[in-house]
Symmetry: C2
Subunit: 243 residues, 2 copies
């Protein structure tokens, strides 16, 4: 049966993929993805056919994947992190439209909120909000509104896409918004190259985060009022009463 | 080397565990967890020693795990879903306090936001907020404030712990708050027993969600202004301009 898997491969290393994702890739005839992820997977699945496109060609990648599945192949379209959160699953459904064919199965993966939090300690124990600072597809005003709302309601906040070559100042602008609602000493953390070569973690205050270096390989965590540094880790207690 | 892994095993079936989680369990001498999860894992790791406690004894479970690791064993403390998000990782660090020993490694897992979203389609493509409706450890007023803020700032919203035997009316009360900010026809979805026997998905409007049956095995998704039903799936487009 022709089928399209939309597979989240997690933060990078094959070890952070689920067993189900691994099975979906093994079952597939063709693996399609952004060049960098395809190169990560090729050594692990040497017998597969691989197709890659450049980063911004998301819709083209979905069309390729749907066409290959319609032609009778089992296809895996791979995304880093989760296939849903800031991933390609929605776009696959959009490009497929109302059609029932080919069958699509979304295979979830570890999103950077979870894998980055594990690297930093346990900052996301309780309610949190995920906000992307990329304004490629979202007006900056909407991003600012979400940041302000999340800060005011005392969510832990995870910032995806904190900066890139084209928009190095986004993290600073986001911090300016957050600092209207949060104290400058609020604990923050930066996870970089999670589960990949060059993995790094850094901790700082919200005031320091304004001037922190962050690039497209970073995920940034801003604590809630309960978050604190504990034994070198960034920790948001759940508040278990019997500790 | 004695070590404590805090392992998120994902939504239930062993297939939704990462390869790293599987390796951590294989490396461990003792696996500790809530009775239900221990019973799920026992057939897969028959040679391990298992220790279980009832659901509300979280701090006791952490103490057991830390003591076993201090005595020289490699220990895995398991959580369903992620080990961070509404999980035990923070509590482990709290109970360990400022001590550097034993070494702790948080192994992330698929949280219900990601695994439930994959079951329902792709509702969490963009910015989202996760809110637990359990007031066991959080005042209900704080929960209402977060719901209102998330709705007003147009986040997709994931509701953890929408109801339980002790608090069956929480989902209705949450919907009342959301309906002050969101239209009654807003698409919603309920994922139940994700990746386990009896897995189910249901879709409804926010008005209908008020009276929907939901229990402690459910995770509830409330769409953003962009979310719609598409080919039978709940989809929030990322807004790729080239579709």
């Amino acid at each position: 049966m022709a089928k399209l898997y939309v597979v989240g491969i997690g933060p990078g290393g094959a070890e952070d993929m689920t067993l189900r994702a691994d099975r979906a890739l093994r079952e597939s005839d063709i693996i399609i993805g952004y060049t960098v992820y395809v190169e990560l997977l090729r050594p692990r699945y040497p017998e597969k056919e691989f197709l890659s496109t450049s980063m911004t060609r998301e819709a083209e990648r979905c069309r390729l994947a749907l066409e290959a599945a319609r032609s009778g192949k089992t296809v895996a379209l791979v995304c880093s992190g989760d296939s849903g959160v800031y991933g390609m699953a929605a776009l696959v459904y959009e490009v497929r439209g109302g059609a029932a064919e080919p069958a699509v199965e979304v295979v979830p993966g570890l999103t950077a909120a979870c894998s980055g939090a594990a690297l930093l300690g346990a900052p996301l124990t309780h309610d949190f909000a995920a906000v992307s600072l990329s304004d490629r597809l979202t007006p900056w005003e909407a991003i600012e509104k979400r940041l302000a709302a999340a800060a005011e309601a005392d969510f832990c906040i995870v910032l995806y896409n904190p900066a890139s070559r084209g928009r190095p100042e986004h993290l600073r602008r986001a911090c300016e918004v957050l600092l209207r609602h949060l104290p400058p000493e609020r604990p923050c953390g930066i996870a970089r190259n999670i589960a990949r070569e060059g993995e790094q973690r850094r901790f700082c205050t919200l005031a320091e985060l304004q001037d922190a270096e962050a690039d497209m390989f970073c995920t940034v965590f801003v604590g809630s009022s309960a978050t604190r540094m504990l034994g070198g880790e960034m920790v948001t207690p759940r508040g278990y009463r019997d500790v």
